[in-house]
Protein backbone atom coordinates (compact mmCIF):
# COMPACT_ATOMS: atom_id res chain seq x y z
CA UNK A 1 0.00 0.00 0.00
CA UNK A 2 1.02 3.60 -0.52
CA UNK A 3 0.75 5.81 2.54
CA UNK A 4 0.89 9.60 2.11
CA UNK A 5 2.19 11.44 5.18
CA UNK A 6 1.36 15.15 5.26
CA UNK A 7 2.96 17.47 7.80
CA UNK A 8 4.62 20.86 7.44
CA UNK A 9 7.42 19.67 9.73
CA UNK A 10 10.01 17.52 8.00
CA UNK A 11 11.15 15.99 11.27
CA UNK A 12 7.59 15.14 12.23
CA UNK A 13 7.12 13.31 8.91
CA UNK A 14 10.27 11.36 9.73
CA UNK A 15 8.96 10.52 13.18
CA UNK A 16 5.63 9.34 11.76
CA UNK A 17 7.48 7.09 9.27
CA UNK A 18 9.76 5.78 12.01
CA UNK A 19 6.75 4.95 14.18
CA UNK A 20 5.02 3.24 11.26
CA UNK A 21 8.07 1.02 10.81
CA UNK A 22 8.30 0.33 14.54
CA UNK A 23 4.61 -0.61 14.47
CA UNK A 24 5.33 -3.32 11.94
CA UNK A 25 4.06 -1.47 8.86
CA UNK A 26 7.48 -1.26 7.22
CA UNK A 27 6.47 -3.18 4.11
CA UNK A 28 4.39 -0.27 2.84
CA UNK A 29 5.53 2.57 0.62
CA UNK A 30 5.68 6.01 2.20
CA UNK A 31 5.21 9.28 0.33
CA UNK A 32 5.50 12.77 1.87
CA UNK A 33 3.90 16.19 1.42
CA UNK A 34 4.44 19.45 3.32
CA UNK A 35 0.84 20.75 3.24
CA UNK A 36 -2.58 20.18 1.72
CA UNK A 37 -1.79 21.97 -1.54
CA UNK A 38 1.29 19.86 -2.22
CA UNK A 39 -0.64 16.77 -1.16
CA UNK A 40 -3.29 17.32 -3.83
CA UNK A 41 -0.81 17.03 -6.68
CA UNK A 42 0.82 13.97 -5.08
CA UNK A 43 -2.58 12.33 -4.62
CA UNK A 44 -3.29 12.86 -8.32
CA UNK A 45 0.13 11.48 -9.27
CA UNK A 46 0.46 8.39 -7.07
CA UNK A 47 -3.09 7.58 -5.84
CA UNK A 48 -2.19 6.66 -2.25
CA UNK A 49 -4.26 4.10 -0.36
CA UNK A 50 -4.13 5.93 2.97
CA UNK A 51 -3.45 9.50 4.08
CA UNK A 52 -2.05 10.43 7.49
CA UNK A 53 -2.34 14.19 7.80
CA UNK A 54 -1.50 16.90 10.31
CA UNK A 55 -4.32 19.35 11.02
CA UNK A 56 -2.60 22.75 11.17
CA UNK A 57 -0.54 23.52 8.09
CA UNK A 58 0.11 26.53 5.87
CA UNK A 59 -1.52 26.91 2.43
CA UNK A 60 -4.15 24.21 2.96
CA UNK A 61 -4.73 22.55 6.31
CA UNK A 62 -5.75 18.96 6.91
CA UNK A 63 -9.48 19.41 7.30
CA UNK A 64 -9.63 21.60 4.19
CA UNK A 65 -7.83 18.89 2.25
CA UNK A 66 -10.20 16.19 3.47
CA UNK A 67 -13.26 18.30 2.66
CA UNK A 68 -11.89 19.04 -0.81
CA UNK A 69 -11.19 15.37 -1.51
CA UNK A 70 -14.67 14.32 -0.43
CA UNK A 71 -16.29 17.10 -2.46
CA UNK A 72 -14.43 15.71 -5.49
CA UNK A 73 -15.84 12.27 -4.79
CA UNK A 74 -12.50 10.90 -3.60
CA UNK A 75 -13.14 8.32 -0.85
CA UNK A 76 -9.49 7.65 -0.01
CA UNK A 77 -8.95 6.47 3.56
CA UNK A 78 -7.93 9.46 5.66
CA UNK A 79 -6.80 9.93 9.27
CA UNK A 80 -5.31 12.75 11.31
CA UNK A 81 -2.07 12.73 13.29
CA UNK A 82 -2.14 16.00 15.16
CA UNK A 83 -1.32 17.79 18.39
CA UNK A 84 -4.74 19.47 18.27
CA UNK A 85 -7.41 17.05 19.43
CA UNK A 86 -10.26 18.94 21.05
CA UNK A 87 -13.67 17.22 21.13
CA UNK A 88 -14.96 19.75 18.58
CA UNK A 89 -12.13 18.92 16.19
CA UNK A 90 -12.70 15.19 16.61
CA UNK A 91 -16.35 15.68 15.72
CA UNK A 92 -15.47 17.88 12.74
CA UNK A 93 -12.99 15.27 11.50
CA UNK A 94 -15.51 12.47 11.89
CA UNK A 95 -18.24 14.44 10.13
CA UNK A 96 -15.86 15.18 7.24
CA UNK A 97 -15.12 11.49 6.80
CA UNK A 98 -11.89 10.87 8.72
CA UNK A 99 -11.43 7.33 10.02
CA UNK A 100 -9.39 8.20 13.11
CA UNK A 101 -7.45 10.89 14.91
CA UNK A 102 -4.10 10.06 16.51
CA UNK A 103 -2.91 12.59 19.07
CA UNK A 104 0.69 13.79 19.26
CA UNK A 105 2.66 12.70 21.14
CA UNK A 106 1.82 9.25 19.80
CA UNK A 107 3.12 5.78 20.55
CA UNK A 108 3.64 2.56 18.64
CA UNK A 109 0.56 1.24 20.43
CA UNK A 110 -1.63 4.13 19.28
CA UNK A 111 -0.48 3.58 15.69
CA UNK A 112 -1.18 -0.14 15.87
CA UNK A 113 -4.61 0.46 17.34
CA UNK A 114 -5.62 2.94 14.65
CA UNK A 115 -3.93 1.35 11.65
CA UNK A 116 -3.84 -2.44 12.08
CA UNK A 117 -7.22 -2.93 10.43
CA UNK A 118 -6.06 -0.88 7.42
CA UNK A 119 -2.37 -1.71 7.01
CA UNK A 120 -2.25 -4.95 9.02
Amino acid sequence: MKVLIIDDSKVMRQIVMRTLRQSGFDSHQFVEAGDGMEAQSIINAVSPDLILSDWNMPEMNGIELLTTLRSQGNAIRFGFVTSETTPAMRQEAKDAGALFMIAKPFTVESFKEALSSILG
Binding site: S9, K10, V11, M12, Q14, I15, R18, S83, E84, T86, A103, K104, P105, F106, T107
Partner: protein, 274 residues
Protein backbone atom coordinates in the same frame (compact mmCIF):
# COMPACT_ATOMS: atom_id res chain seq x y z
CA UNK B 1 -0.34 20.43 61.26
CA UNK B 2 2.99 18.99 62.30
CA UNK B 3 5.70 20.64 64.35
CA UNK B 4 8.73 21.34 62.19
CA UNK B 5 11.28 22.31 64.80
CA UNK B 6 11.71 23.67 68.29
CA UNK B 7 11.52 27.27 67.13
CA UNK B 8 7.73 27.13 67.00
CA UNK B 9 7.60 26.98 63.22
CA UNK B 10 4.91 24.62 62.01
CA UNK B 11 4.53 22.93 58.69
CA UNK B 12 1.21 22.99 56.86
CA UNK B 13 1.61 20.30 54.27
CA UNK B 14 -0.07 20.74 50.89
CA UNK B 15 -2.21 17.68 51.68
CA UNK B 16 -4.06 19.54 54.43
CA UNK B 17 -4.14 23.01 52.85
CA UNK B 18 -7.14 23.48 50.59
CA UNK B 19 -6.82 27.10 49.58
CA UNK B 20 -4.17 29.80 49.63
CA UNK B 21 -4.88 33.25 48.27
CA UNK B 22 -3.41 36.71 48.52
CA UNK B 23 -5.81 39.23 50.04
CA UNK B 24 -3.77 42.30 50.98
CA UNK B 25 -6.74 44.02 52.54
CA UNK B 26 -7.30 45.47 55.96
CA UNK B 27 -8.45 42.61 58.10
CA UNK B 28 -11.12 42.48 60.71
CA UNK B 29 -10.87 40.50 63.90
CA UNK B 30 -12.43 37.09 63.82
CA UNK B 31 -14.32 35.69 66.75
CA UNK B 32 -12.76 32.26 67.03
CA UNK B 33 -9.11 32.14 67.82
CA UNK B 34 -8.25 28.50 68.06
CA UNK B 35 -4.86 28.98 69.59
CA UNK B 36 -5.01 30.94 72.85
CA UNK B 37 -1.29 31.30 72.75
CA UNK B 38 -0.54 33.05 69.49
CA UNK B 39 3.11 32.19 69.78
CA UNK B 40 2.19 28.61 68.97
CA UNK B 41 1.02 29.73 65.55
CA UNK B 42 3.55 32.51 65.20
CA UNK B 43 5.16 31.03 62.13
CA UNK B 44 3.97 28.38 59.70
CA UNK B 45 5.50 27.11 56.52
CA UNK B 46 2.73 26.60 53.99
CA UNK B 47 3.45 24.15 51.21
CA UNK B 48 1.78 25.60 48.13
CA UNK B 49 2.23 26.09 44.40
CA UNK B 50 0.72 29.56 44.69
CA UNK B 51 3.48 32.07 44.07
CA UNK B 52 3.70 34.36 47.11
CA UNK B 53 5.76 37.48 47.70
CA UNK B 54 7.33 38.63 50.94
CA UNK B 55 5.06 41.17 52.64
CA UNK B 56 1.80 39.96 51.12
CA UNK B 57 -1.16 39.20 53.37
CA UNK B 58 -2.60 35.79 52.64
CA UNK B 59 -5.53 33.61 53.64
CA UNK B 60 -5.17 29.87 53.86
CA UNK B 61 -7.62 27.11 54.77
CA UNK B 62 -6.31 24.00 56.41
CA UNK B 63 -7.53 20.83 58.05
CA UNK B 64 -6.91 20.49 61.78
CA UNK B 65 -6.77 16.73 62.00
CA UNK B 66 -7.22 16.47 65.76
CA UNK B 67 -10.63 18.14 65.77
CA UNK B 68 -11.45 17.28 62.14
CA UNK B 69 -12.41 20.80 61.23
CA UNK B 70 -11.38 23.32 58.64
CA UNK B 71 -9.76 26.50 59.89
CA UNK B 72 -8.89 29.65 58.06
CA UNK B 73 -5.64 31.40 58.83
CA UNK B 74 -4.58 34.85 57.85
CA UNK B 75 -1.04 36.16 58.02
CA UNK B 76 1.80 37.97 56.38
CA UNK B 77 4.46 36.30 54.22
CA UNK B 78 7.87 36.77 55.83
CA UNK B 79 9.94 34.45 53.71
CA UNK B 80 9.47 32.46 50.49
CA UNK B 81 10.95 29.16 49.43
CA UNK B 82 10.87 26.73 46.52
CA UNK B 83 7.81 24.85 47.79
CA UNK B 84 5.90 27.55 49.65
CA UNK B 85 6.29 30.37 52.09
CA UNK B 86 6.73 31.13 55.78
CA UNK B 87 3.74 33.09 57.04
CA UNK B 88 3.56 34.98 60.32
CA UNK B 89 0.04 34.22 61.45
CA UNK B 90 -2.22 37.10 62.49
CA UNK B 91 -5.46 35.26 63.11
CA UNK B 92 -7.06 31.85 62.88
CA UNK B 93 -10.76 31.05 62.85
CA UNK B 94 -12.91 27.96 62.62
CA UNK B 95 -15.02 27.74 59.48
CA UNK B 96 -17.15 25.08 61.16
CA UNK B 97 -17.65 23.31 57.84
CA UNK B 98 -17.51 19.70 56.82
CA UNK B 99 -14.14 18.43 55.76
CA UNK B 100 -12.99 19.76 52.42
CA UNK B 101 -10.94 17.87 49.94
CA UNK B 102 -7.43 19.17 50.22
CA UNK B 103 -6.86 19.21 46.49
CA UNK B 104 -9.38 19.60 43.67
CA UNK B 105 -9.83 16.67 41.36
CA UNK B 106 -8.28 16.97 37.91
CA UNK B 107 -11.74 17.52 36.43
CA UNK B 108 -12.55 20.27 38.93
CA UNK B 109 -9.20 21.91 38.28
CA UNK B 110 -9.83 21.76 34.53
CA UNK B 111 -13.26 23.35 34.72
CA UNK B 112 -11.98 26.06 37.02
CA UNK B 113 -9.02 26.70 34.75
CA UNK B 114 -11.23 26.99 31.67
CA UNK B 115 -13.50 29.53 33.30
CA UNK B 116 -10.59 31.48 34.76
CA UNK B 117 -8.55 31.38 31.55
CA UNK B 118 -5.55 30.08 33.37
CA UNK B 119 -3.54 26.92 33.86
CA UNK B 120 -4.01 25.43 37.32
CA UNK B 121 -1.59 22.53 37.34
CA UNK B 122 2.08 22.31 36.42
CA UNK B 123 2.93 19.33 34.20
CA UNK B 124 4.49 16.54 36.21
CA UNK B 125 7.90 15.02 35.45
CA UNK B 126 6.47 11.71 34.28
CA UNK B 127 4.23 13.36 31.67
CA UNK B 128 7.07 15.50 30.36
CA UNK B 129 9.30 12.45 30.20
CA UNK B 130 6.62 10.42 28.42
CA UNK B 131 6.20 13.15 25.81
CA UNK B 132 9.92 13.46 25.11
CA UNK B 133 10.43 9.70 24.96
CA UNK B 134 7.58 9.33 22.46
CA UNK B 135 9.05 12.05 20.23
CA UNK B 136 12.77 11.44 20.53
CA UNK B 137 12.59 7.75 21.12
CA UNK B 138 15.45 7.20 23.53
CA UNK B 139 15.51 6.64 27.28
CA UNK B 140 15.20 10.27 28.28
CA UNK B 141 14.99 11.14 31.96
CA UNK B 142 13.33 14.23 33.39
CA UNK B 143 13.85 15.46 36.93
CA UNK B 144 12.66 18.54 38.77
CA UNK B 145 15.50 20.76 39.95
CA UNK B 146 15.79 23.72 42.32
CA UNK B 147 15.03 27.07 40.79
CA UNK B 148 17.86 28.28 38.57
CA UNK B 149 18.73 31.72 37.30
CA UNK B 150 17.30 32.57 33.88
CA UNK B 151 19.61 31.92 30.93
CA UNK B 152 21.44 34.98 29.59
CA UNK B 153 20.32 34.11 26.05
CA UNK B 154 16.91 32.53 26.60
CA UNK B 155 14.97 30.55 24.02
CA UNK B 156 11.30 30.94 24.84
CA UNK B 157 8.20 29.06 23.74
CA UNK B 158 5.06 31.14 24.32
CA UNK B 159 1.67 29.53 24.88
CA UNK B 160 -1.57 31.45 24.33
CA UNK B 161 -5.17 30.56 25.10
CA UNK B 162 -7.70 30.43 22.26
CA UNK B 163 -8.60 33.98 23.30
CA UNK B 164 -5.00 35.10 22.81
CA UNK B 165 -4.06 35.42 26.47
CA UNK B 166 -0.46 34.59 27.38
CA UNK B 167 -0.72 31.70 29.85
CA UNK B 168 2.62 29.90 29.88
CA UNK B 169 6.23 29.95 28.80
CA UNK B 170 8.81 27.24 28.37
CA UNK B 171 12.23 28.80 28.77
CA UNK B 172 15.43 27.10 27.78
CA UNK B 173 18.82 28.08 26.38
CA UNK B 174 20.89 27.83 23.20
CA UNK B 175 22.56 24.59 24.29
CA UNK B 176 19.32 22.80 25.11
CA UNK B 177 17.69 24.00 21.89
CA UNK B 178 20.55 22.53 19.88
CA UNK B 179 20.65 19.25 21.76
CA UNK B 180 16.88 18.76 21.75
CA UNK B 181 16.67 19.71 18.07
CA UNK B 182 19.51 17.39 17.14
CA UNK B 183 18.20 14.46 19.16
CA UNK B 184 14.73 14.76 17.63
CA UNK B 185 16.16 14.33 14.12
CA UNK B 186 18.95 11.99 15.28
CA UNK B 187 21.61 14.40 14.14
CA UNK B 188 24.93 13.58 15.84
CA UNK B 189 25.64 15.50 19.04
CA UNK B 190 28.80 16.92 17.50
CA UNK B 191 26.75 19.13 15.18
CA UNK B 192 24.89 20.55 18.17
CA UNK B 193 28.14 21.06 20.09
CA UNK B 194 29.64 23.00 17.18
CA UNK B 195 26.64 25.35 17.07
CA UNK B 196 26.79 25.83 20.83
CA UNK B 197 30.44 26.88 20.62
CA UNK B 198 29.40 29.75 18.36
CA UNK B 199 26.21 30.43 20.35
CA UNK B 200 24.06 29.88 17.27
CA UNK B 201 20.92 27.90 16.47
CA UNK B 202 20.56 26.56 12.94
CA UNK B 203 17.11 26.79 11.36
CA UNK B 204 16.66 23.02 11.45
CA UNK B 205 17.42 22.84 15.17
CA UNK B 206 15.05 25.73 15.83
CA UNK B 207 12.28 24.07 13.81
CA UNK B 208 12.80 20.79 15.61
CA UNK B 209 12.69 22.44 19.02
CA UNK B 210 9.53 24.25 17.87
CA UNK B 211 7.95 20.87 17.09
CA UNK B 212 8.78 19.54 20.54
CA UNK B 213 7.29 22.58 22.23
CA UNK B 214 4.31 22.53 19.86
CA UNK B 215 3.44 18.98 20.86
CA UNK B 216 4.27 20.03 24.44
CA UNK B 217 1.10 22.14 24.50
CA UNK B 218 -0.68 18.88 25.31
CA UNK B 219 0.94 18.99 28.76
CA UNK B 220 -1.14 22.07 29.59
CA UNK B 221 -4.35 20.96 27.90
CA UNK B 222 -6.20 18.99 30.53
CA UNK B 223 -9.50 17.57 29.37
CA UNK B 224 -12.21 20.20 29.71
CA UNK B 225 -9.77 22.87 30.89
CA UNK B 226 -8.30 25.91 29.26
CA UNK B 227 -6.85 25.19 25.82
CA UNK B 228 -3.47 26.58 24.81
CA UNK B 229 -1.36 26.53 21.67
CA UNK B 230 2.29 27.26 21.07
CA UNK B 231 2.28 30.73 19.59
CA UNK B 232 5.96 31.42 18.92
CA UNK B 233 9.50 30.33 19.64
CA UNK B 234 11.66 33.34 20.45
CA UNK B 235 15.38 32.84 19.92
CA UNK B 236 18.27 35.20 20.65
CA UNK B 237 18.77 38.02 19.89
CA UNK B 238 15.01 38.69 19.72
CA UNK B 239 14.20 41.32 22.37
CA UNK B 240 11.75 40.13 25.00
CA UNK B 241 8.26 41.62 24.63
CA UNK B 242 7.13 43.32 27.89
CA UNK B 243 4.42 40.77 28.72
CA UNK B 244 6.89 37.90 28.42
CA UNK B 245 9.54 39.69 30.47
CA UNK B 246 6.91 40.38 33.13
CA UNK B 247 5.79 36.76 33.25
CA UNK B 248 9.39 35.63 33.62
CA UNK B 249 9.76 37.99 36.56
CA UNK B 250 6.53 37.15 38.34
CA UNK B 251 5.16 33.74 37.37
CA UNK B 252 2.24 32.39 39.41
CA UNK B 253 3.87 28.98 39.23
CA UNK B 254 7.27 27.87 38.02
CA UNK B 255 8.97 24.55 37.56
CA UNK B 256 12.63 23.98 36.71
CA UNK B 257 13.69 20.68 35.20
CA UNK B 258 16.67 18.95 33.72
CA UNK B 259 16.33 16.65 30.74
CA UNK B 260 18.94 13.93 30.35
CA UNK B 261 19.21 12.75 26.73
CA UNK B 262 21.38 9.66 26.21
CA UNK B 263 24.21 10.28 23.70
CA UNK B 264 23.60 14.03 23.98
CA UNK B 265 23.81 16.33 27.00
CA UNK B 266 21.72 17.25 29.98
CA UNK B 267 19.45 20.16 29.13
CA UNK B 268 17.84 22.70 31.42
CA UNK B 269 14.36 24.07 31.01
CA UNK B 270 11.82 25.97 33.07
CA UNK B 271 8.05 26.26 32.83
CA UNK B 272 6.41 29.55 33.82
CA UNK B 273 2.68 29.78 34.40
CA UNK B 274 0.86 33.14 34.35
Amino acid sequence: MSKKNERQEYLLRASIVSRVRVINESHSLWPYLIEPNRQVMAGVFIETEVHLQTGEVVEFDFLQKKVKKIFRGRGRVVRTGANGAVVRVLEVMSLDKPLLRSNPTAEEASKKAASNQRIEVLPDDAKIEELLVSLIGSKIKVAEKPRQSDPTSPVIGTYLSDQGKLLALVVTDVAATNYLGASLARIPAGAAAAAIRTNTIEEEMRDNCYEILNVGASLFNLSGGVHVKLSALLVPPTPLPPDIAELMQTPRMRKDIEVIIPLYETCRMAIYIA
